[in-house]
Amino acid sequence: MKTETLNRWKCAGAVFCLCILAVTTPAHCEPLDVDLSHHRIAIHSSFTGAEVLLFGAIRGTGGGDIIVVLSGPNQPVVVRRKARMAGVWLNRSEVVFETAPGYYAVGASGSLDDILDTRQREANRIGLNNIKLVPAGGVTRGSVFNKYSDALLRHKVNQGLYFTEPSPVEFIGTNLFRVRFNFPSNVPPGIYQAIAHQVDDGEVVASGTADLVIRKTGMEARIYGTAHDSPWLYGILAVVLALMAGWLASAIFRRT
């Protein structure tokens, strides 16, 4: 529960930052109506992934482009590099990233390059290369750091949690739009936020957000919760279960 409240604060922070961004953006940025097909996703024992549809209506008479960023809970991540030592490959150096989104996907109605320029994409954190990765210790630039952040992005893409290509945003009629996002089975639980931007002539003219909660449910969630909230109790439970299972097995096979 504690982490959840924390995440909520982070979300509030993100919205706050967005507001500041909206204020400082030169063009008059208006609210954009968007919503998600699901606001809750339950990870149960046979969870194989999920699909979420974001839909909304653009402002004005039509035209313009849509960019959507859907990202998930920020987590500290460590990237390690192996090197050969006395013939053996060992982890030799590491960079800790204080926050990296557990999930990050972009949807766009065209090529990102054509819709927004590099500076704007950077400011709105749109695209894999503009994800905010904060390394602990403060080293932020340089070729060495880039190798570690590249490795992080590569691994997340391989795990199906980040995407190199944006999902296509489709228009229905002149005003309605929709885009599909896929969550793989290993999606981390937490609070997710979708931010949609309407872009006209290379400027963001309207923005809107929608939230989504992914949580574990069922027996697995209870086991996971106990393991982390009361670790000693969980340990005792594990040992008692093992003793009982061993005794049971012996009793069953003694008869046969």
Binding site: L152, R154, L241
Partner: protein, 295 residues
Amino acid sequence: MSVSIVLLLGMGAGVGFLSGMFGVGGGFLMTPLLILIGVPPPVAVATEANQITASSVSGFLAHWRRGNVDLKMGFVLVIFGAIGSGLGVWLFRKLRSTGHIDEFISLTFVLFLGVVGTLMAIESGRSIIRRRRGGRRERMHVHYWVHGLPYKMRFRKSKLYISALVPAGIGLCVGIMSAIMGVGGGFILIPAMIYILGMPTAMVVGTSLFQIIFVTANSTLLHAATNQTVDILLALILLLGAVVGAQFGTRVGARLRGDELRILLALLVILVCIKFAYDLLATPVDVYSTAPFIG
């Protein structure tokens, strides 16, 4: 992480079959297999300790009914085993926070499996050759430096009068190994009890299982409390397969000769060792790895 239940049951049954056949816990096979199918090494190690507790209980009860347990020896091993596994879990946490735990697990596996496998292969190979030639048997009891140590203690059931330091040292080492490698330590404990302590073979398996129950239970508890890496569901699934497999393994094992069994086990141990060594020595596909950061 999602892994097929059928695969886990099959692995449990396969390892259970071998452990029933050879009379070992099977942790030294199961932990590497779990790592191989993608279970993070720290979770594999802690969960396997939990599973071994269960399988050792059922094995111990069978030996207890036949009166093949030296409780006094068992308690000396247990007390120092508990201290050892406490040390091991502490070391495990240190290594985990510096990011070296995976390599350390692999290195200790290579070292122990390599030494034990080679020694066992040589011993059982000689025994087979001797039997073919029809030579005489070796002496049961060998006296050397360990029997000159102080703090002597009498172990009636094992017909031994030796220094308590020897079982204490063995218990300590096996405790540390159990915590770090996720093994019961049977493949070290059994040779140590036969060759170093000189215990009668009939007492060895039951007594080692007695010690393994306590040491792995202690490791499980400490891993759960300090590292949160025990997966009860995974342990229970593995156990289910292992219990059934072990029953069949015991029957097949009863048909083979002792030295034939030992040389097969030695070859298996060496094979696992080679796999670990290869992974450490071969150039990795990706020199970078990502993991959640634990502060």
